[in-house]
């Protein structure tokens, strides 16, 4: 079966972002970018399913600037077979991304679409669910175990309080949680081979999708600073402070 994996180019998770002085957003110039960590887990899961002989072809899709080709190449070095970049310099919000992915699903007819549960830049946690709704697919969000057999996917999900297992008819959407797997590193020969794998470049207009933002960002500010605390020397002093000064115990 064919699997589609969506990947997003985001600020590397190790970077401590800074808000721009004019409050229009965060500083992205000259900041290290990388594949979103949850998307990396999605690629890894698709590759593992391919290694088990369940998935036969992995198509990796990214929507964003020209530079997102780097993230598609990374996914191909990890084992994806071909790539599709929907290139746009504009801000594309989750609903528009979901519509573009739905159009690609209509063309490619995958049995499984794997996404990360959320991108670490906008922290939305929406795209997979929205795609599933638009395509009429079942969804297995926050997946920590995925099994595909007999035309169905069994997905164990991380929920508040523990785990839940659901059975989904295929085609289905799965979004990855942290504990689904540990992504591998790309080996140098595979990075070289990935450069030769096919990568189609499209635009949102090719799919007839209007990507106009539905949510307007009015301003972005740094969070309120916490006032500097103190170091105490002994447990006695700590307990005294908590009782008399902070009055929390």
């Amino acid at each position: 079966m064919k699997a589609i994996v969506a990947v997003k180019r985001v600020v590397d998770y190790n970077v401590k972002v800074r808000v721009k002085a004019d409050k229009t957003g965060v500083e992205l110039a000259n900041v290290k970018m990388a594949i979103n960590p949850f998307c990396e887990i999605a690629v890894e899961e698709a590759v593992r399913l391919k290694e088990k002989g369940i998935v036969t072809e992995i198509v990796v899709v990214s929507i964003g600037p020209k530079e997102a080709q780097e993230q598609i190449r990374t996914a191909m070095a990890l084992g994806a077979d071909r790539g599709i970049l929907v290139e746009t310099g504009a801000e594309v919000q989750p609903l528009a991304v979901a519509k573009l992915l739905k159009a690609i699903c209509d063309q490619e007819q995958p049995q499984l679409v794997i996404l990360g549960k959320q991108a670490i830049d906008d922290d939305n946690n929406q795209t997979g669910q929205m795609l599933a709704a638009l395509a009429g697919y079942a969804q297995g969000t926050f997946a920590s175990v995925v099994k595909v057999e007999g035309g169905k996917a069994s997905v164990t999900r991380e929920i508040d309080g523990g785990f839940q297992t659901v059975e989904l008819n295929l085609p289905a959407v799965v979004t990855t949680d942290l504990r689904l797997n540990e992504p591998r590193y790309a080996a140098l020969p595979n990075i070289m081979k990935a450069k030769k794998k096919p990568l189609d470049v499209k635009t949102p207009a090719d799919f007839g999708v209007d990507v106009t933002p539905r949510v307007k960002t009015l301003k972005v500010e740094p969070p309120a600073e916490r006032s500097a605390g103190i170091k105490v020397k002994t447990v006695e002093e700590l307990v005294a402070k908590l009782k008399n000064e902070a009055k929390v115990i």
Binding site: D121, Q129, A132, F163, R214
Partner: protein, 309 residues
Amino acid sequence: MAVLVYAEHDNSSIKGATLNTVAAAQAIGGDIHVLVAGSNCQAAAAAAAQIAGVSKVLVADNAAYTNQLAENVSLLVADLGKAYSHILAPATTNGKNFAPRVAALLDVAQISEITKVISADTFERPIYAGNAIATVQALDAIKVLTVRATGFDAVAATGGSAAVEAVATVTDAGTSKFVAEELAKSDRPELTAAKIVVSGGRGMGNGDNFKILYSLADKLGAAVGASRAAVDAGFVPNDMQVGQTGKIVAPQLYVAVGISGAIQHLAGMKDSKVIVAINKDPEAPIFQVADYGLVGDLFDLVPQLEKLV
């Protein structure tokens, strides 16, 4: 203008996060209707009718909603939601699971994890793991929102007397099936609702050592949390994880033990009123947000602390 609030419940009682979500709905204004979707959920519906500020409770009592499968629930909420200006759900794993489906079915955007209501169409929400706060304006006619419980003070669970009305619509997508659930059992307060949280990190060394935190927590009436490092190392189950990818807490007192204070962890607890850090490394980033820091060996300090409180 009326606001529809999706109630988080276990069929017999209403979960705490619902009360914070009703508070967010009050900040928006208008009539507040609460939807209770489940099976044999009349007790939960009766509890919802008691919530202060709620004018109507809609009850969809059907086997299709037994396990709150997103495929079925989202069709119901999207169908009912057309009559409302706002649809709110708590930003729990359940809310996050179905709410974006509702938004997509209605062809509107969703705004995730709002922490403040500025006006009926303008909200604040954290981005980049809480390192920036965005003020955003929804341009769609219907606003679908998930509410971060720690951003709003819960409304009273009693004092209301809303009318209860049954919803006849049954929406069963038939594409998914519930198989099993495995819930961690705990006698301690729920992590997201606790007044005091004691959390352990990689510095705990192993899962057995967490017992010193459990015994401190029991003395304080606190919940026990953990950093991602402690969860990934297998010390404790993942539902104890506090952080960007785990639970977001804002208790009166947060005690971080053997936690270095990575960005992803801070995103889950830095709105706590008072933060105490116990760590042997005086340079650990956790000390930059801690109100009171104690440098030393946690295996000495935690038992001492337990004796004194």
